[in-house]
């Protein structure tokens, strides 16, 4: 193997904090060789991002760093900010997690890309740099690069911003690209495109790459070697195939097992206990219980031709309507007792609007919503208040959905209080509910901040169950959780459904998550349901092209499968454009 580009030796990073010193990274050592892709995988708080920021020299000043980092033979710790700046953006570049905030909002995207060229090549004229920026944008697949270069970041979509970030990262053909969760904030189809782009860009310029991610699926198709981190320490380091097929450590195995897979149906039983538990619970019929066929069960929720149109207005004083956004464009579905319907779609497809329309319990703009056969528009104030106990909701963000100032017991009692339960009954139910969701009755007096994300989500579920609802609406209940925690929450939800016979409307952007929990799947795109069918049918034989696209975009945590799936490549001719602009005309022009 060639000389390493980057070698990290015994790196430790600590931060001072209120509760004493926090060890963010401890004794981490790894090397990255020329052209190699290393993935650092770990759950939130494992120290993976901190270690890469240490390489960039971008940690806050409060951090204490020990150990050694060498970049192509140069000791990075011996350099001052000015010397490091010469490396950053030129020899090492970085793609950050959140494309929404990573670009300066007040400068044009073209300017920002041109800037990175000019910083390291001051001899380039401003005009040449701008031209180069356009070429780079074209290379990363931005349509109409000339026009787009003159736009501001807020006019770009998330995926486009991340493309622009990649353009910036490859502008000076660096030796090393560090990508810190580059696709976490993106939709699944965009995520696949961006990962493919990043891979092909890396291969084209022959740079070594460090990919930081929590998602084993992303790793499979990208990395040559994988480093697994947990609680600030390295757990395992090995070639990608070794890690995926013969993991040595328990934690790695759990991490792999907890990843929901869209292809699990074909590959039979998951290899792990965790996966098996998940799968077992997903099939309520397994334990021999008699369940009436779907058609004979009563309908809990019925949505008919639901429309929601937001007017787009212009003019400040006299508002005139210049257009409309059809957030929900005539969707219909029903949920029967004990059934779980998954509503799947990417951000902006109208799934949240649909939920809100249902939860309002009012007359929708157009269409009908019936709960237990009662039209929501026809309800009196009193009936509506009573119905609130039948339809409840579990929110996406377990940090935000519980009032931080209330103890858990009060949070769970809140809906019961509205329904006028007696104090005695409430206390009784709180204990029962807590044990139902896998918490202890002793937890009732604690505050939400004392719990982890997964536990808080369990509290959220307990609150939703408080008044024996008929239908629980789950709005991306696991998307904010780490994969291992996510598996536990999903298993609990599946178990609750089997035991209590409650119906679920499970909203998710991730097909792989809903596979084991839902009976039927509704795929939503641009305010419409493009496909609605039995879960197995949708997975094995998707009818609509969009369903197929969604399915194929889900990363599969299997290196062999993943390698066969890469599609998009970088536009090499556009990228090379600048190197020969003087001599030959741009072939892509």
């Amino acid at each position: 193997m060639s000389e390493p580009i980057l070698s990290v030796r015994d790196l430790s990073v600590t931060f001072p904090s209120e509760y004493g010193t926090v060890h963010a990274v401890q004794n981490l050592s790894y090397e990255v060789h020329k052209g190699e892709a290393l993935a650092i995988v770990g759950e939130s708080g494992s120290g993976k991002s901190v270690s890469s920021l240490a390489v960039m020299g971008l940690l806050p000043r409060t951090a204490t760093i020990t150990g050694g980092i060498e970049m192509m033979g140069q000791d990075l710790f011996a350099m001052d900010d000015r010397q490091l700046s010469k490396l950053r953006g030129n020899t090492i570049s970085m793609v950050f997690q959140d494309p929404l905030s990573a670009l300066t909002p007040v400068f044009r995207v073209g300017q920002q890309i041109a800037e990175v060229v000019r910083i390291h090549h001051p001899e380039t004229s401003a005009k040449q740099a701008e031209k180069r920026a356009v070429e780079l944008l074209e290379a990363v697949g931005i349509p109409e690069p000339m026009r787009r270069a003159n736009q501001y970041p807020h006019e770009y979509s998330g995926g486009m911003r991340q493309r622009a970030m990649i353009a910036m990262a490859i502008a000076n053909e660096p030796e090393l690209i560090i990508a810190d969760e580059p696709t976490t904030a993106l939709d699944v189809t965009i995520q696949a495109q961006v990962m493919d782009l990043l891979k092909s860009a890396q291969e084209m310029i022959g740079a070594a790459t460090v990919l930081i991610t929590h998602d084993m699926g992303v790793v499979a198709g990208f990395a040559d070697r994988v480093l697994v981190m947990k609680d600030s320490r390295m757990v395992e380091l090995g070639a990608v195939d070794d890690i995926f097929y013969t993991p040595q450590e328990d934690y790695t195995r759990n991490l792999l097992a907890a990843v929901p897979r869209v292809d699990a149906g074909e590959s039979g039983r998951s290899r792990s206990v965790a996966g098996a538990a998940l799968q077992k619970l997903a099939e309520p019929g397994d334990d021999g219980q008699e369940i009436a066929p779907r058609e004979e069960r009563p309908i809990v929720l019925e949505v008919e031709e639901l429309h929601k149109v937001y007017p787009i207005t212009k003019g400040a004083i006299v508002r005139r309507k210049v257009g409309e956004q059809r957030a929900v464009d005539g969707i219909s579905f029903d949920i029967r007792q004990g059934e779980c319907l998954a509503l799947v779609g990417e951000s902006g497809c109208g799934k949240t609007t649909t939920l809100m329309e249902i939860m309002q319990l009012r007359t929708p703009q157009q269409g009908v919503i019936r709960i237990d056969g009662t039209e929501t528009g026809s309800l009196s104030r009193k009936e509506r208040a009573a119905l609130r106990s039948d339809v409840t909701m579990v929110f996406q963000d377990p940090m935000a959905s519980l009032d931080p100032r209330m103890p858990i017991a009060d949070i769970i009692k809140e809906p019961m209080r509205v329904q006028g339960y007696s104090a005695e009954r409430m206390n009784e139910r709180v204990d029962w509910l807590l044990s139902m969701v896998g918490l202890l009755p002793e937890h009732a007096a604690r505050f939400p901040t004392e719990f982890s994300g997964g536990q808080r989500q369990r509290v959220g579920v307990a609150r939703a169950l408080a008044c024996d609802p008929k239908l629980i609406i789950l709005d991306e209940p696991t998307s904010a959780l780490d994969v291992t925690v996510q598996a536990g929450v999903l298993a609990m939800l599946a178990d609750l459904r089997a035991r209590l016979g409650v119906s679920f409307l499970f909203v998710s952007h991730d097909l792989s998550v809903v596979r084991h929990i839902s009976d039927r799947i509704a795929v939503m795109q641009r305010g419409r349901i493009v496909e609605l069918g039995e879960t197995e049918d949708v997975f094995t034989d998707p009818q609509h092209p969009y369903s197929r696209e969604l399915l194929s975009a889900v990363p599969i945590p299997d290196p062999e499968v993943a390698r066969t799936r890469r599609r998009e490549a970088i536009d090499r001719s556009a990228f090379d454009g600048a190197d020969k602009t003087a001599s030959s005309p741009d072939p892509t022009a």
Partner: protein, 338 residues
């Protein structure tokens, strides 16, 4: 993620283990395989769980750890004792004239000296300190109340359909209306007429022109809170809006209000002394620190330095406490009001 908050997950994981013990927890028993799997993945040397501190307790600790907070509290208490005891033990009255000693410096009889009208400066300063304290604290409390009502109502209704937005717009414009004309002008207009009735009128008057900025901040905070999922959850449970406001919104802005009220005391004192200084504040039978300062004489520094020093000590001690409270609440922010 560069901030240490990202690192919190370690502790969370330790707690998760504590609560997913299959034996304690029959429901989890069915998924025992899963949880034990997760358990074994947790190393035993995971960071010790932080002691569970209530938010109030944490605030108190951080506050008391702050040296400035102690300085502020001690000075403030000393000033209050002086304001209470001073006029009782001192032999001169604020309006007792000793013309023979007019414009003489501090002495054993006149601790702070005598101004050119023969009035004793110490007696007047202590009396003024009393008035300023009462006005400062009273105004701050009233201001906080006004701001709380307007800010929370405006913030809460702003998302409630067309009428809500309209009501919010009206309240915002009301706030702006108060900000368009310098409030000192309007205070000057009202104050003399109301002073004829009672000097206590100064409190509602000052409060009337001081609530706007606080209300603006509270409105913004409420708007953010209304969008949080736990307020939305309350709405979907059918909780009455007023209960939502008192149970979810006010407790979550309470610490900010406490800080703002503390700093509001000093702001009110500054406003009142300024107004009194130009002759539109506290009137004759009463004395405020502003009216004491009014009798300054540049060629005799003792005419203004003692009352100015008392005033500065008062405002600084309150501000020190307010800042320490703010630091305790949010150690990363150095924010402040005007």
């Amino acid at each position: 993620m560069t901030n240490p908050h990202d690192i919190r997950g370690t502790d969370d994981a330790a707690k998760l283990r504590a609560s997913t013990d299959p034996e304690e927890n029959p429901m989890i028993g069915s998924t025992a395989d899963l949880t034990t799997a997760v358990d074994t993945a947790l190393p035993d040397d995971a960071a010790p769980a932080i002691e569970s501190l209530g938010r109030g307790e944490l605030l108190r600790r951080r506050f008391l750890r702050n040296r400035n907070a102690w300085v502020g509290m001690i000075v403030f208490v000393v000033l209050i004792v002086m304001a209470i005891v001073g006029p009782i033990v001192y032999q001169y009255e604020p309006f007792e004239r000793d013309l023979r000693n007019a414009l003489t410096g501090p002495s054993a009889y006149h601790w702070f000296g005598v101004n050119e009208n023969g009035l004793d400066i110490f007696a007047r300063t202590m009396q003024g300190l009393r008035i300023s304290l009462v006005i400062g604290i009273g105004t701050a409390l009233l201001t906080a109340f006004l701001a709380l009502v307007v800010g929370i109502v405006a913030g809460y209704v702003s998302h409630k359909g067309k009428w809500g937005a309209l009501a919010d717009g009206a309240l915002v414009n009301l706030i702006n209306l108060f900000l368009v004309v310098p409030s000192i002008l309007l205070l000057m207009l009202f104050s003399p007429a109301l002073q004829r009735a009672s000097w206590l009128w100064m409190i509602p008057l000052l409060a009337l022109f001081a609530w706007m900025l606080t209300a603006r901040v509270l409105r913004a905070m409420t708007q953010q809170l209304v969008r949080t999922e736990y307020v939305e959850a309350a709405r979907f449970m059918g909780v009455h809006p007023i209960i939502t406001m008192t149970r979810h919104i006010i407790p979550n802005v309470a610490s900010w209000i406490i800080i703002d009220t503390t700093l509001g005391v000093s702001a009110a004192i500054l406003g009142e002394t300024g107004l009194s200084f130009i002759g539109f504040g506290i009137q004759y039978p009463q004395v405020s620190l502003g009216t004491v300062l009014q009798d300054y004489n540049i060629s005799a520094p003792y005419t203004w330095i003692p009352p100015a020093a008392v005033l500065a000590a008062l405002v600084i001690s309150i501000n020190l406490m307010g800042e320490a409270l703010r630091d305790a609440l949010d150690p990363t922010s150095g924010s402040s009001r005007l």
